[in-house]
Symmetry: C2
DNA sequence: TGCAAATATATGTACCTACATTTAATGTTG
DNA sequence: CAACATTAAATGTAGGTACATATATTTGCA
């Protein structure tokens, strides 16, 4: 569906405004579809993303700082998202022995199992960009990089 | 800055994953820049967007339903965002005479003035897509439409 | 060594999203 | 026309974002 119809607006000022609105709208659209996938496993999107970073480190620990660095949303509150994961026993938190200001965060076996189950669904559904060819995806990525130059 | 460096991740599985992450990241990046513009005027991004829809209708009223239809984020809570705008006296809310379930929402003179002041800043800063040519913006929009087909 | 600056995380607050539920008014239909 | 369904908005709740501030630890250096 064209973006004009999605937001019931017939005309845009120019191609820039149209692209901007389309970009924000499509990102939200993709994230909502992703979220729906995790919901049945009791995870939110940021929780899932943090779990994946932790799996990437496993069995080494991560710190809150490292999570923030790698998150898409730098200003989000990693500390409180880790809280939720800890309550669900998907991660552990322990004061770092070599630097008692920092906290070692590790994914638990239960967390690894959960990710594995979600992987299966992800493999089927993909990122949501299946309608593009690989070349188009690369082209899209280049355009986005250029925006932020 | 390339997306790899932005999130300190050196490799992506494929172009699809890279484009997905880039898309979500760039949309967030743009929205953060936009938000910074409104903040000094005491508005959030959703508040600003609703004000603009109301200006488009002015002097006719809008209803909550109409706002939701036109918002980028359909599941957001227009009713409570209007609350905030009403407190700041940027909009008025009045039971619709012809359908007492609905509410007529109108932008006030004060709201129109505020938007006008922000327009000036917007005109200078643009949408944040200035690094693209008009052709690239159009091309971006087409790729995004294709994702959601 | 002692004390200020820097660092790592946690917490407080305002606002937001997502989604379920409630309340009130209006339509519909037997 | 009375009961029930539908519609429009508001409200409740859990979780997130953005940003300021607090607390504890470590570092640097006079």
């Amino acid at each position: 569906m064209k973006i004009e119809d999605e937001i019931k607006q017939s005309a845009f000022k120019d191609d820039y405004q149209k692209a901007y609105i389309n970009l924000v709208f499509t990102a939200g659209w993709l994230q909502l579809r992703q979220s729906a996938m995790f919901k049945e496993y009791g995870l939110t999107l940021p929780q899932f993303n943090i779990l994946r970073i932790l799996r990437g480190q496993h069995p080494k620990p991560a710190t809150v700082n490292m999570l923030i660095e790698r998150m898409l949303d730098k200003t989000s509150n990693a500390s409180r998202i880790v809280d939720k994961l800890e309550i669900k026993e998907l991660v552990t938190r322990k004061v770092c022995p070599s630097n008692r200001r920092a906290v070692d965060i590790r994914i638990t076996d239960s967390g690894l199992e959960l990710l594995q189950r979600i992987d299966a669904v992800m493999a089927v559904q993909g990122t949501g960009l299946q309608n593009l060819t690989a070349e188009e995806a690369a082209q899209l990525s280049d355009l986005l990089d250029k925006i932020r130059d």
